[in-house]
């Protein structure tokens, strides 16, 4: 991957973090896939001399990394912002135990919600858990800062939070490379006063945390990562993370205090800097995190009264917020048909959700994955989606609230990976507390949305080597589910029948909708039929249009055009399959009652 010189690469933030972790001597790394964090482990797993894994969820990932740290080696846990909510339980108490080997937890936040259900600002976790947090501004810094984060972790006996955002993770830039440091020897050491958080030892550690934060505050004053870039003092800035880049472009002449460690803050440095400038503006994405704490020091500054607290920033937004008269005119956007993402042509989820879309009276409690896209028209077959694993608990809660009225009308839908992440406990609860919702597990044999990572049910590990696979049927039965039915979602008719029957039963039952994701290499390679529209048979009934396959399109006709094509003048249009896009699932063919869709054997 050489760019010009071999010691410089052009890497994404996530690739740079993988490199940095390897160089920093990380020996164990665990995570759960989640945009924009996924590629860190995907890259790190190809380095020699570091153990990597996909954990079933972020809580487990952090616990694994903590265990490795207790054994004296450097460890890394990676997750997206909402994943840290799941991992927050071990996080808050790991703050008490501290570490043996360095421990860094990466949280990849997603301002603007490019691929997330919320845009929470995880800097708040650093404050709440009393942990130091680093935040780089670009890939090169991400690599360098990670080394510092591990040093700080070991020197101050603390887990370190490392926050990136989408515009670090998925930005590519020039990155320097270095050598790997010498590795620590793993060992077992029993230190109950440090590792066993019973109330007694925990109280002792609680005091140690206060001392640690004081020490870290001192470190923050001298840390190279918190640097002042001299410049004009009439209007000066405090900023961090990607916002730093926007300030540098919008106000290149201004003095800047750039914070690389965003918690705890260097009080003296901030006060000194503020004292030497006329106007101080804090520029940060999302919450007024720095601003609030700077104001709490008694330092007057401006911030969120100017800078938006919603969504991503860029240099334009920053300039406009501060000097609204100085921005030039832009072309106005033109209203165009939106292009939201869609499930792939031939996606097995589509068949299942088509069946649900025909059951108008049913509330579909949904979950997180590619299949969340089924909430969009034309399927519009998902009525709730909150967080990983929530579908089953929410369905149960609705059932308890609705009682008899809800019988036969509540379905939870959850993907295989999401079920293992945090749906299993919900299912245990539904059985234990005697629910009646139908739980559908969409088993497409992979974690698809984040780019096809293996999971405990897929039969392979992070490197694609064979691994033990959870048997979902047996698992559900062991939980106490009496009826577990497996359907092939491409067979719409049979699937519809099973769903109708199971939903009417009035007891918690499970349907496993099983067919591999069409993007799996084995599926891509498999010879499939191609479906073709026999346009002269198409009556324009739009039955096939309702499944929303991207390979099928509707072509409207005027009465004259209809007649010209040999249709009745009343026919409003016809449907057409783009054969190069068709993945041969056959779902649409089953919906057409006029023999207008037929399979052609692949000539190739």
């Amino acid at each position: 991957m050489s760019v010009t010189k071999t010691d410089r690469l052009w890497l994404s933030g996530n690739e740079a973090i993988a490199l940095g972790a390897w160089e920093a001597g990380v020996q164990v790394a665990s995570g759960y896939p989640g945009t924009p964090s996924t590629e860190i482990l995907e890259n790190l797993c190809s380095y020699e001399g570091v153990y990597t894994e996909w954990a079933p969820n972020e809580k487990v990932a952090l616990e694994v990394a903590l265990g490795a740290s207790f054994a004296g080696v450097r460890a890394l846990a990676t997750m997206k912002h909402v994943g840290l909510n799941v991992a927050s339980d071990p996080l808050f108490t790991a703050s008490y135990t501290g570490v043996r080997g360095g421990l860094v937890v990466i949280t990849a936040d997603d301002p603007e919600m490019h691929s997330s259900q919320n845009e929470q600002d995880n800097r708040n976790y650093a404050f709440a858990a009393k942990l130091p947090m680093f935040e780089p501004s670009d890939p090169a810094e991400a690599r360098e800062m990670l080394a510092r984060a591990f040093e700080v972790s070991e020197r101050y006996d603390t887990p370190v939070l490392f926050r990136i955002t989408t515009r670090i993770a998925h930005v590519k830039g020039v990155v320097a490379t270095g050598k790997r440091i010498g590795l620590a020897e793993a060992s077992m050491e029993k230190v109950p006063g440090k590792f066993v958080m019973l109330p007694g030892p925990a109280r002792t550690r609680r005091a140690a945390i206060e001392q640690r934060m004081t020490d870290l505050r001192e470190l923050a004053e001298t840390l190279g990562e918190n640097r002042i870039e001299p410049g004009a003092t009439a209007r000066a800035f405090i900023t961090a993370g990607t916002s730093y880049n926007y300030v540098k472009e919008a106000f290149p002449e201004a003095a800047v205090l750039k914070l690389g460690m965003v918690w705890p803050l260097p009080g003296e440095k901030i006060r000194d800097f503020a004292a030497g400038v006329d106007e101080l503006i804090v520029v940060e994405e999302l919450d007024p995190f720095l601003e609030t704490h700077i104001k709490a020091m008694g330092v007057p500054c401006r911030g969120k009264d100017l800078i938006p607290s919603r969504g991503e920033l860029n240099s334009f937004i920053v300039r406009q917020a501060i000097e609204p008269d100085k921005v030039g005119e832009l072309f106005d956007p033109i209203e165009l048909p939106m292009r939201p993402p869609n499930m792939c042509a031939g996606c097995p989820h589509r068949g299942l959700f088509y069946c649900l879309s025909r059951m108008k009276d049913v509330f579909v409690s949904g979950d997180i994955g590619c299949y969340t896209l089924a909430a969009l028209p034309p399927l519009s077959a998902m009525d709730a989606c909150v967080c990983m694993g929530a579908s089953i608990g929410m369905a149960h809660g609705m059932a308890k609230a609705l009682g008899e009225k809800g019988k036969g009308r509540i379905v939870a839908v959850i993907g295989d990976s999401t079920f293992i992440h945090s749906g299993i406990t919900g299912l245990i609860n539904s059985v234990y507390n005697d629910s009646y919702s139908l739980v559908i597990i969409l088993d497409n044999r992979i974690t698809a949305m984040t780019g096809h990572q293996h999971n405990p049910a897929s039969g392979a590990n992070i490197k694609g080597e064979p691994a033990q696979a959870v048997n979902l049927e047996k698992l559900c039965r062991a939980i106490g589910v009496k009826r577990v039915t497996v359907v092939n979602p491409h067979d719409i008719e049979a699937t519809g029948k099973v769903l109708k029957k199971e939903i009417a039963r009035g007891k918690t039952s499970v349907v496993i909708s099983r067919a591999p994701c069409v993007l799996l290499p084995s599926e891509v390679k498999r010879k499939k039929p191609v479906y073709r529209t026999v346009t002269e048979n198409c009556t324009g009934c739009m039955a096939c249009i309702r499944i929303g396959c991207p390979a099928i399109s509707w072509h409207p006709l005027t009465p004259e055009e209809a007649v010209e094509r040999g249709y009745r003048s009343k026919q409003k249009g016809f449907s057409m399959i783009t054969e190069v896009l068709c993945n041969g699932c056959g779902q649409c063919a089953a919906l057409c009652k006029f023999d207008a869709i037929t399979a052609v054997e692949d000539e190739g």
Partner: protein
């Protein structure tokens, strides 16, 4: 040589925007620029509208192109060529692949695909270069090189010499694909070059 510039890549998830923007970035790096590129993964890739920002210069801070400052847009689909209009300015050049991919609302009969959409750009005096990249790629004999045809066409607007692009193709592509992609690049490059000369004559 121009000191800095901004190139926007737009299209539909799955069209090969990533490869096109990577090639361009590596060519800029080889020409001695600092380069940053920003893209979005995850949900946006499932057939949705996608955009990649590429910025080059002596030292690039922000990975995001400011609205009103994209010098070049490489659009892989016609609607997408217009969707990011606020990023363009009057001297922008838009190299657009003349392909129409129907968005879901259009494909399901709930909306229609606007006619002559590229006129919206021309009406604002934006320099539009329409390229039938698929036709060119088909002629070359490898339909999958359409994105490299687009890079070739776009390269006319950059100071980076075509030789650098060809070197990058050699360095970064698998052996069996180099020849055909070099051809695709050259074909794209000649296409626009010819039409620009034609423009001048008129």
């Amino acid at each position: 040589m121009k000191q800095s510039g901004n190139i926007l890549f737009t299209g539909v998830g799955g069209q090969g925007i990533l490869l096109a923007s990577e090639l361009t970035a590596y060519a800029q790096l080889a020409a001695g620029y600092d380069v940053k590129k920003s893209e979005v993964h995850g949900m946006a890739q499932r057939g949705g509208s996608v955009v990649a920002h590429l910025k080059y210069g002596e030292r690039v801070y922000s990975p995001l192109i400011e609205p009103g400052t994209a010098d070049i847009q490489v659009a892989f689909e016609e609607l997408e060529a217009v969707r990011y209009l606020p990023y363009l300015h009057r001297d922008s050049a838009v190299v657009v692949n003349t392909q129409k991919i129907l968005p879901p609302a259009v494909a399901t009969g709930r909306a229609s695909y606007p006619d002559n959409i590229l006129e919206e750009l021309r009406a604002r005096h934006i320099h539009v270069v329409a390229v039938d990249a698929f036709a060119v790629a088909r002629e070359i004999g490898e339909i999958r090189t359409a994105n490299v045809v687009m890079v070739g066409a776009m390269s006319n607007f950059l100071a980076v010499s075509p030789g650098i692009f060809l070197d990058v193709i050699d360095q970064r592509m698998k052996k069996g694909f180099r020849k055909v992609n070099r051809k695709a690049f050259a074909a794209g490059r000649d296409l626009v070059y010819a039409s620009r000369r034609h423009d001048k004559k008129r």
